[in-house]
């Protein structure tokens, strides 16, 4: 039985893993870079050790130092979180060699799924649907046959390609041959190699993923779907479960396929299969993530399961205690990623010192964050401050709740994307649950509009600044009430009536 876990990560996910460890009575060891001494995962852990410089290469990606720390503190397991070394087969193998339990799948599973081409091959073998097409050089004689098999629209791509060169999108069969020739000649010109292949073009895809768990005894279950189509530059921003798009038949079929896929590689641990889903609910394997996902909490909320607890349970080589037939999605969950960035300034990161946080509370809200009042966000790592998750009995109630908790979440000192997220919650396509991965692009203009000019709110902001100035600035008449709190200084100030000028 695992007694002590080293968490080879930082930020919200390190704290999230430690929370479950604390509940289970498992001791925790934090590792931190020199830039992270004041990070919350250090103070949350039972023990902590500095493993190097701020740069991730020198610390969170340095397997040697992490293994050394695990041995020094006698941790019997390492939880890698997500990112950093979580999908590094070499690190998983190294842990095994050193006799430390890696809380994740085997090095072989990570390797099999780490490379897109090998993963596709593996999935075809396991009869998991992949985006239809060929991967070899397409001969003219095969062109029409293949195209008819996979169905229009198709995309013709240069085998040696990249950057859109030698690429043609074909909607009508009569354009097919011309496009093929054009792609070939462009490929020849660009890469000196005119071989091309053909693939089905998914027009308005949804990005929907299935969570699954496998144990060391060959049992695999799926934990249903997460809709992750709200993305900006391939970064997920908002996720929800269940997907408002797919029907129950598709959901069950995707779950069954995910179980088959995981079983085909003898997967042990928590994993996710990402699918592209087209407008007709045809779904195609995209990739497998062999780790916990950022958005795992929405699955936890809908199923009432603690995925980290299950990961540790599996790592102890116990049998799965959840049964597929007992798992049902209840209600609806939405997650928003809270980032220190400025949506009005092209999402530039906004590091700095967190002055004050007012955390949302009450029914149906969960916050997974690692920030605290006075924390200085380091410039070396990504800008996610945490995640805001709501649960409610229905999608519409979850949406209403998310608006309410975004309203309650106040973070001062750094700019955040909270107002931008609120606008997503008000955007028609999102409200109707009718959106694809093009959502952010399609609504970019509306999402950039701020709440509109309301002179009264602007005036109130000016008044708030002005009063703070009166109470706190050195220019203001000297006041010294007993406790020297702003409220007391404010009360003490100018008790008389009459015109005052500062």
């Amino acid at each position: 039985m695992i007694q002590k876990i080293l968490i080879a990560n930082r930020g919200e996910i390190a704290v999230r893993v430690m929370r479950t460890c604390k509940e289970m009575g498992i001791r925790t060891v934090a590792v931190y870079s020199e830039a992270d001494r004041t990070s919350r995962h250090v103070s949350y852990a039972d023990e902590a050790v500095c493993i190097g410089l701020a740069s991730s290469q020198e610390s969170y990606l340095n397997a040697d130092k992490i293994i050394k720390a695990a041995k020094q503190f006698k941790a019997d397991a390492i939880h890698p979180g997500y990112g950093f070394l979580s999908e590094n087969a070499g690190f998983a193998r190294r842990c095994k060699e050193e006799g430390i339990i890696f809380i994740g799948p085997s090095a072989e599973s990570i390797e099999a799924m780490g490379d897109k081409i090998s993963a596709r091959r593996q999935m075809i073998k396991a009869k998991v649907p992949v985006v239809p097409g060929t991967s070899e050089d397409l001969k003219p004689r095969d062109l029409f046959r293949v195209c008819r098999r996979i169905g229009l629209p198709v995309i013709i791509k240069a085998t040696a390609g990249g950057g859109g060169k030698g690429m043609r999108l074909v909607y009508e069969e009569k354009q097919l041959y011309e496009a093929y020739e054009a792609a070939k000649s462009e490929a020849r010109a660009s890469f000196g190699n005119d071989s091309v292949y053909i693939e089905k073009y998914i027009e308005s895809p949804h990005h929907i993923e299935i969570q699954f768990l496998g144990d060391a005894h060959g049992n695999v279950i799926h934990l249903f779907d997460r809709e992750c189509s709200v993305q900006r530059r391939h970064q997920k921003i908002v996720e929800e479960s269940p997907s408002p798009f797919i029907d129950d038949k598709t959901r069950q079929a995707m779950g069954a396929i995910a179980v088959k896929a995981a079983r085909s590689i003898g997967y042990v641990g928590a994993g996710t299969i990402e699918f592209l889903v087209d407008g007709d609910m045809n779904f195609y394997f995209l990739e497998m993530n062999t780790r916990l996902q950022v958005e795992h909490p929405i699955t936890e909320e809908v199923l009432g399961v603690d995925l980290v607890k299950e990961q540790i349970h599996i790592a102890n080589r116990k049998k799965l205690r959840l049964r597929q037939k007992h798992l049902h999605q209840r209600g609806h969950a939405i997650e928003c990623r809270i980032c220190a960035e400025d949506p009005e300034n092209n999402f530039a990161p906004s590091p700095g010192i967190i002055r004050h946080i007012q955390t949302p509370e009450g029914i149906g809200v969960r916050v997974d964050s690692f920030i605290y009042d006075g924390y200085e966000i380091p410039v070396y790592y990504d800008s996610m401050l945490g995640k805001l998750i709501v649960w409610a009995t229905s999608r519409i109630y979850a949406l209403e709740r998310m608006r309410r908790v975004l309203y309650e979440y106040k973070i001062t000192g750094v700019k955040t994307n909270i107002d931008y997220l609120r606008r997503i919650m008000d955007t028609r396509d999102f409200v109707k649950g009718n959106y694809t991965t093009h959502f952010i692009e399609d609504n970019s203009k509306k999402l950039q509009e701020s709440a509109g000019n309301n002179n009264e709110i602007e005036d109130m902001a000016i008044i708030a600044a002005y009063i703070d100035h009166i109470v706190n600035s050195n220019d203001a008449p000297s006041l010294s009430p007993a406790d020297n709190l702003p409220i007391s200084r404010w009360r003490a100030f100018g008790k008389q009536k009459g015109v005052l000028r500062i």
Binding site: P351, Y380, A451, A461, I463, A465, H469, I487, G494
Partner: protein, 167 residues
């Protein structure tokens, strides 16, 4: 005193105060409001029964960031007379003569050297923060006077990076 908010400049003045009850004029419009605040910067304003909240963060003197419902406002308060008494201070018009880092970060690349002539729009320096790089360009034609940082340096918010002589 003067308040600058976005492109708007206005006159704000405390007219009377009786406990939490104050009259404040913003550009001549008189607000009869009830105001309280906490040490953490939270401010509650009641105006004609409506409840407004603001979280204020005080930067250097007179500069504020105010957060109301989903909106950030950068506000600058200034007292014209005061400025006169204190004498010459850096004003917006002079700001072009230096480049400072708007946020903490790391210097990735410096494209200019001291004494070099730069034209408006020329790239000068690349700063990285939180895995994103920003390139700063010259706001006008100038000569690089001094470069205060080196590639690889970590810089603080508002740290001076490059200063110029205008020609």
């Amino acid at each position: 005193m003067k308040a600058k908010i976005g492109n708007r400049t206005c006159e704000v003045e405390l007219i009377s105060k009786d406990g939490n009850r104050v009259e404040i004029s913003v550009d001549g419009k008189i607000y009869d409001i009830d105001v309280v605040m906490s040490e953490s910067g939270f401010c509650s304003i009641l105006h004609e029964g409506r409840s407004y909240n603001a979280e204020s963060v005080r930067h250097s003197e007179g500069k504020y960031t105010i957060t109301t419902n989903f909106r950030y406002f950068d506000i600058e308060l200034s007292n014209p007379q005061k400025k006169y008494i204190r004498g010459r201070q850096s004003t917006p018009e002079e700001a072009q003569e230096t480049i400072t880092s708007p946020m903490p970060g790391k210097i990735i690349k410096i494209m200019v050297s001291e004494g070099m002539e730069v034209k408006q729009g020329d790239p000068l320096i690349v700063v990285e923060a939180m895995k994103m790089q920003s390139t700063y360009t010259a706001a006008q034609n100038a000569i690089v006077d001094k470069i205060h940082v080196e590639e690889g340096d970590s810089v603080a918010r508002d740290q001076l990076l490059i200063s110029f002589k205008t020609n």
